[in-house]
Amino acid sequence: MEERRNLPEFENSPKKWRYNFTKSLFTFWKNVKMYGVENQRIDEEIAYFKKTLDFFFAEKDEFSILFDGIDVKVDKVRIRGQRQDDKYFDDIYDLFLSLCLSGFVFKKGVDDRQILGFFAVLAKYPVGREPKIQAYERVRADLPPLTHIEVFPYDPEESGNLPIYTVPQAIRRAHRKLAAEYPDYAKMVKAAENIPLRTVERSVQDLISIAQNLSDPGNYALLMLLAALPAYRGSVAGAAAAARTIFSILIALRLGLEPSEVKRTAIAAYFQYLSDDPDTGYTVLSRMDEFSYTRIEAALNASARLTDLSEVGLMMEGTACGTVPSEILKVAAYYDRVTRRWHDGPLLSRPEALRSMLKNAGAGAFRRDIVDTFVTIAGVYPCGSVLRTISSNELVVSCGRFKNFTAEGPVFVLNPDLSVQERRMVKAENLIDVPDAAGAVLPPATLIQMLEAFLKEQ
C-alpha cells in the first residue's frame, strides 16, 4: 500500500519533508561511507539532499536536526520511525550517539563543497553505542572550516530533561489530540485502515485522571471552554467529538462510574459519529485489532445515535441502545449538537439547551438523573454562554459554573469589537441569556484571549 505521506495532497506537507530529509541524510551518509565522496551516486544524493533543505529554506534561514538522547527533532519537531520503512532511524540514533553529537544546523546558502566535506568526516568513523566525548572532539578536529553548518556535542547526562506540562497544558494537549486527529480517523475509516487507538486512549485516560482531581475552577473552565469551541483546525466534527468526550467523562465521573467504565463511555463518545452511517461505525469499530470490551461498547454506541430531532428539539426514539454509556452519550451528544452550528435541526443557546434537556427528560427521552447530573456539572449558564448583564447591559461570556440563579460565577466581559475587556465575577441573577446568539461563532482572537487566561494562570 502506498504511504499516505507520499500521496499528492501531502506534496507540500512539512511533515513529509521532515521525513524525506531524515531519510536523505541517512542514505547520503551511508553512500559516502560505501563509495567515498567521488561517485555518481553521491551527485544524485547531494541533489536530493539539497532539495529537501531548499524546501525549508524557502521560509527560514536555518534548518536543524537535533538529538536529545531519545528522539530526533527535525526543524524543531520530534519525529519517529513509524513504519517498517523507517528502520533507518535506529542508524541515525547510532550515528549521533557514537559521535557524541547532539545535532547539526544547516544555514541558508550551504554549498555542495561544505556538505560533502561534512559528510566525509561523518562517514569516516565507525558507529557504536557508547557515546564518548573524545569521539566528538575527533570529529570537530577533522571538520574543514564550515561557515554554513554548525555541529553541537551531546551530553548523555543532561539530555532528555524537557519541562513537564502543567495541568492546563495537559488539558490542552489532550483536547488538541482528540480534536485535531478526528478528521484523520474519519479518513482512515473510509479507507478501511486501522485507527491508532492508543493515542485516543491515552488522551482520554489523561482527561479522566485530570477530571478526577478537578478542584481548580480554572481547569474546569478550560475544559468546558475547549468543549464549547465551535471548530478546531477547520473541523467542526473534531471539535464536537472532543466536546462529547469531555462531557461524557464529567457526567460519568459524577455518576460514580468506575474509571474503566468512564473510559469506555468516553471512547464511545469520541467515536460515536465517526462515520456517516451508524452501521459503518459499528462495523469499523468491530474490526479493531484489539477487539476488547471497550471497542464493543464503542461499536454498539456508534450504531445508536441521534438521528432525528423534531423542530422543537424533542428527542425521537431509537437514539440509544439501552446501555449505561449510550444514555450518557445521548445527553452529551444532544447538548453538543443543539448548541453547535453544524447539522440541520434546532440550534439553541446553551441555557436554552439545558431547558430543552429537562423538558425532554420529562417527556421520557432522556434519563432524568443523567440530565440532572449534566445540569449540575454545567451550571445554569454553561461555559461559553453568550449573556448580557441586566444592570449594565454588557455583553459577556460565561467562563465558570453558576450553580443556580443566585450563585456568583466568572464571565468574560466583551468590548464592542468582541475582544475581551476583563474577567469578572457576576451574580447569576444579574445575567440574562441571549437566545438568538445560539451557535454564534466568536472570532478566533477572542477565543485565544479567553483560553490564554487559563493557561497563564498556572
Binding site: R198, E201, R287, S303, G322, T323, D372, V434, D436
Partner: protein
Amino acid sequence: MLHIAKKRELTEFFRSIPLEKKQQVYRGVRAVIAMLVKISKMTELYSIRDKIFTEFTETLMQNLDVIHNNIPCVSVTTKKIGFYYQERRINLFDAGERKFRNIFLVNEIRELYFVKGITPEELLNFFSVIQETINYTLIDYDFNTRLWDRGVTHIGTLSDPDMGDPEPWSAEEFKGESEPVAPAALCALTPRSFHDLAAIVKEFETVGAIGRSEFDAWRRERGKAFTIQRYLEKARLLILRDGIEANRSIIGKMCEYALTNLQEGDFISGMVYLTNLQQLRRSMEGADEALLGSVASVFEKIRSDQFINKVFEVAATIAPEHLPAFGEYLKIVSAEELEPVFLKLVELGQKEARLHGLEAIAGNLTDDELVKRLATNPDWHVVRNLLYMLRFSYRPSFLPTVREAMHHPTKQVRIEAAHVLSRYDADENVEFWHKAVLSPDEEVRVLAVENLLRIKGLVAKQILNEMFKPAQLVRFSTLDLEQYVGRILASKREEFFDLPGNLIFSDNAQVRLMALKSLNTIEDPSAISSQVIRRIKSPEFETIEQHEMELLLALLKGTQLPSMLDALTPLLTMQGGLLNRKRYAPLKKRVFGFLRRRAAKSGTITKWLEKAKKDGDAETKEILAGR
C-alpha cells in the same frame, strides 16, 4: 490515578533529594531495575499466575521498601543508551536489559517512577503490563494505557506527551466552517426578557431531587453481559441482513472474542458469545458451510484438550460471579465426551468451581458403564466427585453403584453416597438406611434418620426404636442425638415424637436438657404430653434442677395443656411429714412462680392458678399470694 500535576510535584521532589542519600538509593534502584529485567524475561516464559511471580513480588516489595524508607519516590530515566538514576548510568550486565528498556523507548517513556505505597497486586499488574508490551506494541494500546487500565497508580511514567515546550495558541486552530459572528450583529441581539426568568428558575428547581439509588439499580441491570448481548444482537441483525461475506470481520471477531474471553476467565462474556454464535448457526442453517466454518471451528476448538487445559488453568482463580457461566461452558464441552472433563474437574483445586462444574455436567451423564468404571477407580477422590455429580443426575440404573459406595472404605465416599441415596425413594432403600443408622459416620447416620423419616408407614419406627434404646444411645454423643432429635421434630411426624420425648427421662442430664430444649421448639407438644405428665408425676420431679424444671414446665402448652396441668394438681395440697412440714415449699415456689409468669399469655394457666388459690392449702395460698 496520578495526574500530571502530581507527577510534576513528585519529579520535582525527586530532583531535590539530598546528595548523601543518592548513593544508598542508587544501589536499591539498581537492584529493582535488575530484578525487573529478570522479570521481563520470565514474563515471556510463564503466565503471570505462576507462583514464580509471587516470589518476585515479595523480593521486589522488599527492595522498594528499602528505597522508600529513604525517599517516597524514585524515578529512573530511560534513554537510548541505558537506564539512568539521578544522572548516573545504571550499569546492568544482562542481555535482557536492552529488550526491557526497549519497552520504554518504543512507548515514548522518559521516566519510570515508583511511589511509596506500592501494593503486591499493583506489582503483579505491572508485570502483566510488561508481559503485554515487551514484544508487541499494537496500535490500540501501549505501556502507558495499560498501566492506567490496570489501575496501577504507584508506578507511573513520564512520557513524551507529558513533556515539551507549550506552543502559543494560534488563530488557525479556531477557524471553522462558519464565519465568526460580526461584532455589531452580536451586540445588536436582544436578550430574553427578564420577566421570563421566574418561570425558568422554576424549571431548574427540581434538578438533583432524584436519589442515586434508582440510577445505581438500573446501572447494575445494564452490566457487561447486557452490553455484549446487545452488541451481538446487532451483529446477528447485520449478518442476517447483509450476509456472511459482508460481515466476515464481525463474525471473525465474535469467534475470536468467544475464545479469548473463555481463555481469560471471563466466562460470562464468553458464554454470551457462544450462545449468540449458536443462535447465528441455527439462523443461518442451510448457508454455505465454508462461510460458517469459523463458527464451527469455535465449537471444535473449545472442546480441544489444549483449550480445556487453559480454561481449567484460569478456573483455578475464578471469580464467584463467573461460576454459573463456567458451568454452562463445561456443559457444552462435556456433551460429547464427559470423562476427560470430569477428570479435569476432579483435579481442580478451586472447590466452588469444581462443585459448580460437576453439577453442570451431571446432565450429560447417562452412561451406566462409565459410572461403574469410575466408581471402582482406586483414587477415592474420583469416586467421591462422581457421587457428587450423581446428586444431580437421577437415574435408577445408577442406584446399585450408589448402594455399593455406601460400603466404600473411605468415609468421605460413604458420606457422599448417603447424600446421593437420599435423592432416591427412601422406601426402596429401607435396608440400606437401616444399616446406616448404626454407621460409624455421623453424617451418614443423620442422613439415615432423615431418610427413614421419609419412609411411609411405620416401618421406620421399629428401626428408630432400636436406635433409641438406652443400650444403643450410649454409642452416640449428645451432639449426635441433638441432630437426630432435630431431624425427627423437623419431619413433623408426631408418631415419632415419643422417641425424643423419652429422652427427658435419660440418666444423662445433658441429654435430658438437650431433649427438653429441642422439644420446646415445637408449637404443640401434645404428642409428648404423656411423657411430660409421667415426668411431673415421677419422684425425680421434686429434685429437678431449676433450669431443667423451667424447660419441662415450658412444655405445658398446646391442646393437652389442661391434662398436663392436672398432673400438677396434687402439688396444691402436698405437705411434708411432721418433722419437715415445708418440704414441698421450694418446689411449689418454683412451679407456681413459673406458671404465674406464664399466666399472662395463657388463659388456661390463669384459670388453673385461680383454682389453685381456692383449692390449695395454706402454704400454696401463701406462695400464690406472693408471700
